[in-house]
Symmetry: C2
Subunit: 344 residues, 2 copies
Amino acid sequence: MGMREGGRVGIREVAKKAGVAISSVSRVLSDHPDVSPKMRERVYAAVKALDYEPDVLAQSMRLGKTRIVGFLIGDISNPLFSEIALGAEMALHQDRYAMLIVNSHGRFADDATQLRLLRKRRVDGFIVSLTDENQRDTIAELQGLDCPVVLLDREVPDWRCASVVSDHASGTRAAALHLIELGHTSIGLVAGSENVLPTRARAEALLAECSAHAGVEAHVAYGSYSEAHGEAATEALLAQSKPPTAIIAGSNQILVGVLRAIRRRHLRIPADLSVVTYDRSPLAQFLEPALGTIERDTRQIGHTAGELLVESLRDEKLPPRRIVLPVRFEPAESCGPKPTTSGN
Amino acid sequence: MGMREGGRVGIREVAKKAGVAISSVSRVLSDHPDVSPKMRERVYAAVKALDYEPDVLAQSMRLGKTRIVGFLIGDISNPLFSEIALGAEMALHQDRYAMLIVNSHGRFADDATQLRLLRKRRVDGFIVSLTDENQRDTIAELQGLDCPVVLLDREVPDWRCASVVSDHASGTRAAALHLIELGHTSIGLVAGSENVLPTRARAEALLAECSAHAGVEAHVAYGSYSEAHGEAATEALLAQSKPPTAIIAGSNQILVGVLRAIRRRHLRIPADLSVVTYDRSPLAQFLEPALGTIERDTRQIGHTAGELLVESLRDEKLPPRRIVLPVRFEPAESCGPKPTTSGN
DNA sequence: TTGTATGCGTTATCAA
DNA sequence: TTGATAACGCATACAA
């Protein structure tokens, strides 16, 4: 082993051992074209003998690149995000990028703070899922970055940026149409924050689909992506004089709240109320009845974002691409015909 | 703004602007005790005027510290792990540590590979949840690290290391006792890999509790933490001549397989078979019937691990601490009396 | 208390 | 094709 008394073994020791210049060692290890086979051999022998590993810190400092990607996300413990993170990590890992994950904890002010932190860490690129697309601080911070950024299901006003988005509209329209065909004339959407693209895209799509059918109306309850909002908004929707007969839950967390409210009111699904949700969770398949689900391949979303970022990292002058990924609607028993009695 | 033509603004520009030496700027910014108030003022003024930010890369290289912690985990998309990761990130973030997450994807060979990657990245410390505690490569890599490590629910043979573990035995004993009191005399545990502490601790506890009661036997099916194993192992257990009348699922993923097998056989819970599972998932509360659960505060596990690591980082010569966190058993309707008819 | 000068471990420029 | 050497941006030992 090449254990040196003081600390680690550096390129100097390798050069000395191989009897060549430091610069030659560097050239060999960075695959410079102009090196003789003999030189290669000697250097590699010394490297192996000393068990030398280049110091990435020094390399980063010299090259101005860290080969680290920053990943800003609302909350890694959200299964949706953690799946995306895994997909991204797999894509990045293939190109030897590491991933620094930071959470905004759903606090919009933390978007800018965490971006700044990542920038200070000198990450080479960003994958970003903002909590709020409209904060001036956040936008300024984003625009100030002089490295590739991939937005995850987000769009920032007046800023062209590479992004990976899901085709929320199509999935939502399919679900709405299904409910309408079952006779529902009032559909509630317990949505998340208006400040992110998916919420707006879904609400728009639902409203559009409903408007396209005479006598069908939609109720959208904006709020946060939380159980609490899911529960409260469902209560509010059902407390209306003419409550919806079908409800769409805007996320896994919201779904929990929706189901809580439904349980508290002792409503039967779908006899009293039809339910649809976005994004499948692992145990959903065992719920009774099975839930109609608007779903997408979360792993793929992350992987695509990772690939797109790597692509931009390879050639920083590439025009920003916007990739749209499919969304499916899977009907299930939780979607039934509109109840004939209007009471609850 | 301190925009410089070429690149970023460095400490040199600040020194020049303030009319002081580079070292004085450095001292002020690193809160050196011996600096006059006047100097402080001038430097901070220049810093503010130029919008100077120290280059962490250069700092890291100089200090030999990155203020980054490496987090090795089986699979961040596993809700259990992602909750732990969130807790850890919160603790680390408080001490201005960033977190580099890498996944071993449940492949034991990747434990060593990913650890090596993190080491090359020069992280200051590790939080590690191994896929396999007994691989020589992994152990060698771990022992070769010359920085603090916190093991997550793992223990490495013949190596003292700081760790955060759950009190698996107590939760498992409580569940077993509950089932035994309900009259069950054959309890199946669909466990995960024998190569990690939780599996062994749980199996041991179950076997011990069963042995302590005359006529009660336990069947442990080891395997992987996967749906596939959950399903296959459950099938195998139920196909025995004297199948268990209660089954404990070793993880969320295993639970999915267990429930699949149960559904395929059209067994009723708990009339035909009682079910208990480890680790609560978000939608579990809406399953019919509710599942008896052996659970713990995953967020706290991560947070504790983060704190413990920070503590070790503060004083590297601290003796390794082992922190044991509580595990609760929450009975529910899925645990019923032993079926009187022995058929299935 | 402040300034000067060296080195951290590389890569890259230039000359040989 | 190879070698000597100057940065990269900062922290610190030492001198003043």
